[in-house]
């Protein structure tokens, strides 16, 4: 696990704080622990970002198995739920899907809703690639699209939009031909 303060080094000190029976844990690397005066483990402190802290407190009041949430990790950028709580920002666009379960209610709390109704781009733009992976650009594009469709399909079924689901399924079939 990475240090929750700097997010760079491997954490090797775990600090546990229990106040009125509420347990909070934080993992730090030895550099940060020293910097924060935490190597003697005496001072009460709060390292979490304000927003992250809000998310965490909010999540804990929900009927949510915290263990499972803590184990969530975004495969694309390596962001963990703990890290998100610590920084209050996501690492990449896929985090929104990975953490969709815990954040849906948080977004409702922040914005009153979790569904976008504003503008969207019309999608004419070409994909930007970093030199390293430009070789199999076309392939990536297609598999990306497939992944997106599969995700959409799952969502459509979950939300009982069967008409949409059928359309997406047909499109996927077409691609697999």
């Amino acid at each position: 696990m990475l240090c929750q303060n700097c997010g760079k080094n491997e954490a090797n000190i775990r600090y546990t704080q229990i106040i009125n029976g509420i347990k909070k844990e934080i993992a730090l690397c030895s550099d940060c622990a020293k910097k924060l005066g935490m190597d003697n483990l005496e001072l009460p402190f709060n390292l979490n970002s304000f927003l992250g802290d809000f998310f965490n407190d909010y999540a804990e009041t929900e009927f949510m198995p915290m263990l499972q949430t803590n184990e969530l990790k975004c495969k694309n950028c390596g962001m963990t739920y703990d890290e998100f709580i610590n920084t209050g920002v996501f690492g990449c666009s896929q985090c929104y899907d990975v953490f969709s379960n815990p954040i849906d209610s948080l977004l409702k709390n922040l914005h009153g809703t979790s569904k976008h109704i504003g503008r969207l781009p019309n999608g004419k733009a070409e994909k930007i690639t970093v030199e390293a992976d430009s070789g199999d650009k076309e392939k990536n594009k297609e598999s990306d699209k497939k992944k997106m469709l599969e995700r959409d399909l799952e969502k459509a079924i979950k939300e009982e939009r069967y008409e949409d689901a059928a359309k997406i399924r047909d499109e996927l079939k077409e691609m697999n031909k």
Partner: protein, 338 residues
Amino acid sequence: MNWYLQNGKDSDVIISSRVRLSRNIEGIPFVSKSKEGQLSAINEKLKSIVPALGYGLKYINLTDIDDLNKEVLVEKHLISPEFAKSKNPYTAIIINDEENICIQVNEEDHIKIQVFSSGLDVENLMNLAIEIDQKLEDLIPYSVSKKYGYLTACPTNVGTGLKISVLAHLPALSLTGNIRKVLNAVNNLGMSIRGLYGEGSKVEGDIYQISNNQTLGVTEKEITKNLKLISQKIIEQERLARKFLAKKGEELEDKVYRDYGVLSNARKLSEEEAQELLSSVKLGTDLGIIKELNDSKISKLILETKSANVQVKVGKKLSVYEQDIERANIVKQIIKED
């Protein structure tokens, strides 16, 4: 002329408006998780499309701007203080000569489109921001989801990615002790309002920033409309309070002319004191009591008495003590100008 020195609509109360759109590029992690190669690719890509955008925009890497001039950009509200301090070498701004468009590259999000105007002008700004956004979206694939809209690093911006804010000068509401009521009312309407300078109960210069909280599940049009309506309500209340103050004519005239006296004669002015005095002098000028100044001189005074602006004008880094002396000189010069 640069937008912040111009007179805008309702600029007796609303100093300036800003519209900001946060965007990220598809397939690349957000800035905090991007690798060097990805950040530099974003930097290169945006650099290459600047000519296609028009508006006389120029691409400037932040590493090519010295610390003092970065601070000046912060004082003009063109970039965020965090962005100015960023250690990331691939940060940049895309800016025009009028400085009414300033796009931040590789801040918290890959792209932050920002447009500015003096006074209250949120609709025109919104249209301009969308126009720029549409040009960009033809050239750059944005990271979006059907459900969550435009995806941003911070979930407080997700959806429209839109934050509109206005800076309001509310001295009469403070002087009459009504500012609390206004702050509460605005907060209850789902907008946030906070003092721009100073912490806690003391708001230096009586300048407040009002902005939308909600970015998801609301359309661009609704956000624009809400912010405009709330701004108009605040303008109405501030003007009422000013009328009330004007009834006790001598009291108010005495206050603003005393403050003008100190401002124009002091040999040494701290940044905070200058802000306080300018707030009062702006009120006096807006009400037609002080005839020696005009709107654009006041805007100039407000900007050019800020710390980094003072130092850039003199052309070197100054101690706080030296700044206070130079600040008083600059004030005298601006007052004397035709």
